[in-house]
């Protein structure tokens, strides 16, 4: 059974702006799914509708086979939500935020306390449990939003830009925890601006632009559709002029750094053979651009090219 099925979701705001133009989306149970798109693409509107924070104009949503319109309480009980913006009572202590959220889901006080302790410890917030929200850093607030979203043990967790503004160390720790949750059976859908995040975490992705899904599929499959990939090579010596390497497009960044574009018909082995033949030795090599980022930008560029 799919964890999520959205059919022909449309949203037109009161000012006439059409944020979603008939979105169809299906996410399998246990998936780790990314929703990518530029600002204003409709990601947050889509998530807002799934989580009952935004009224849809038309279309339907099913979560684990339950229809959002007919069984809203069941659907809500199956979802955990980590929103993009902080939405706390800033004057409440950390622990109370989580306990109250459990209470809203009908979890009795004693059990709510036990669960709050479990998730606050898990997200390394237990020592700050008595601190008021307003005294927490951005990273700690992000982690608290995850604890709050999990306290009723949802089968699906939806995260809208969960690591925005979070430093690398905390981001990596959050990734590890999300992987652990997913391995434990929780279906995860996230939107992110960090394409590295989507590439690293997600098995499937959908790219949304101007209120429509532009592409959806396995991350690996979508990446394999890339025609070219660009690498940056750091050379051992200096080169006076660019060598001619048949089939590879070279560009000189400086006299010891090269940028090489490889299309799908060529291999990296072929590149190194050609470089060796020209007496060029390579110290290190890296992708110029995150591959998913390139795919994403290519698609958005195409979409913009089509736009009137």
């Amino acid at each position: 059974m799919p964890a999520l099925v959205a059919r022909q979701l449309r949203k037109t705001y009161k000012n006439g702006y059409e944020a979603l133009k008939g979105v169809d989306l299906s996410v399998e149970e246990g998936d780790f799914f990314a929703l990518l798109g530029p600002n204003g693409a409709g990601k947050s509107t889509l998530i807002g509708i799934l989580t009952s924070l935004i009224n849809k104009t038309s279309g339907s949503v099913e979560v684990f086979g339950h229809d959002l319109d007919r069984e809203p309480e069941t659907v809500k009980s199956l979802l955990g939500v980590v929103p993009q913006e902080f939405n706390f009572n800033l004057f409440l202590p950390v622990e109370e935020v989580v306990i109250n959220q459990a209470g809203y889901f009908g979890i009795p006080r004693r059990e709510a306390r036990e669960r709050a302790e479990y998730y606050l410890r898990k997200l390394e917030l237990w020592d700050r449990r008595r601190s008021e929200m307003r005294l927490l850093s951005g990273g700690l607030k992000r982690r608290l939003m995850i604890a709050r979203a999990l306290v009723h043990r949802p089968r699906m967790l939806i995260l809208d830009e969960p690591t925005a503004g979070v430093d690398i160390e905390i981001r990596r720790a959050m990734w590890d925890y999300l992987r652990e949750l997913n391995a434990g059976g929780t279906t995860i859908i996230l939107t992110t601006h960090y394409l590295e995040e989507a590439e690293s975490l997600c098995r499937n992705i959908a790219i949304i632009s101007r209120g429509s899904i532009e592409a959806v599929g396995e991350t690996a499959d979508l990446l394999s559709a890339l025609d070219t990939e660009t690498f940056v090579l750091n050379l051992k010596g200096r080169i006076a002029q660019l060598p001619e390497l048949g089939g590879f497009v070279l560009e000189s960044i400086d006299d010891s750094t090269l940028e090489v574009q490889i299309n799908r018909e060529h291999t990296i082995n072929g590149l190194f053979d050609a470089l060796s033949r020209n007496g060029i030795e390579v110290i290190s090599m890296r992708n110029k651009q995150n591959r998913l980022e390139k795919l994403f930008l290519d698609m958005v560029d195409q979409e913009r090219g089509r736009a009137p």
């Binding site: 935004i54 009224n55 929103p83 902080f86 706390f88 209470g103 809203y104 009908g106 009723h152 043990r153």
Partner: protein, 262 residues
């Protein structure tokens, strides 16, 4: 995973959580929520009860200070029930933590009941404090505990609902003070808190009957003193009617997501 308690147990816990949150909120800031009414009422008793009241003489067959006690208690209950809900619900909208409730399976009526109960709790707390202040100035005997309690609870329910609707429509903190300043206070002052409408000329008497607060003040005065300008059945009918209208309207707004969803 995701095994929630049976529906009614869940509703009960959600309601209790909301009430506990609201009571904790106004208790934490008691200096702003409870104390001002006690001080204001004390000033009313000193000025209108003692200094001026003794020169006014009896009203409705009672010493003036005894006559104004029910109205002053009810005025505090009205103001506090209203302002608790309007400020709490609007803050939750403003800081967006209303979303904590909107993503939960709590139905609209449980959310409404929780906020209203929080307003009633503050209204009654302040009402008791004001009664204790009144006891410093006069001996208070209660004519009917049943009527007194019923009117206190129903009035605070009614104005808590009013505060809720105000909060739904409010778009700024200014919007939550406009109604109390320009509607609630005049209605309360003109609702027979300080005088019997028998003192008014016939035209103003008739006009006063359009003021719903008059029915509550008089019903409460009947509960404490046993006298009223209004028949009790009519007073209760008006209060219950207003509760029903405001209650259903609040639920309608909440279900539609007016002011809280886009």
């Amino acid at each position: 995973m995701s095994r929630l308690p049976p529906r009614w147990n869940r509703y009960r816990v959600t309601f209790a959580t909301l009430v506990s949150k609201e009571v904790t909120r106004f208790s934490r800031i008691w200096v702003q929520t409870v104390l001002p009414s006690a001080i204001t009422t004390m000033l009313y008793f000193v000025i209108f009860g003692r200094l001026i009241g003794e020169r006014i003489g009896p009203m409705g067959g009672f010493a003036y200070i005894d006559f104004i006690v029910p109205g002053l208690v009810l005025m505090a209950v009205i103001t506090n029930s209203y302002s608790n809900v309007v400020s709490s619900f609007y803050s939750s909208k403003f800081s967006r933590f209303i979303e904590e409730l909107l993503v939960s399976p709590a139905p609209s009526w449980v959310i409404l009941a929780g906020y209203v109960a929080g307003g009633v709790a503050r209204g009654l707390t302040v009402g008791v404090v004001v009664i204790l202040v009144a006891l410093l100035f006069t001996d208070l005997s209660v004519h009917s505990y049943l009527v007194t309690t019923l009117v206190l609870v129903l009035t605070s329910v009614l104005f808590a609902l009013g505060g809720f609707i105000n909060a739904i429509y409010a778009r700024s903190f200014d919007d939550i003070s406009i109604v109390p300043t320009f509607v609630l206070t005049p209605l309360t002052y003109l609702g027979g808190v300080f005088y019997s409408i028998e003192l008014l000329p016939p035209f103003w008497q008739s006009l006063s009957l359009a003021n719903p607060v008059l029915y509550m003040v008089n019903a409460f005065r009947y509960g404490i003193l046993g006298v009223s300008d209004i028949p009790m059945a009519l007073a209760f009918a008006i209060i219950v009617l207003f509760i029903a209208v405001l209650g259903f309207f609040s639920l309608y707004l909440l279900d539609r997501g007016v002011g809280i969803k886009t």
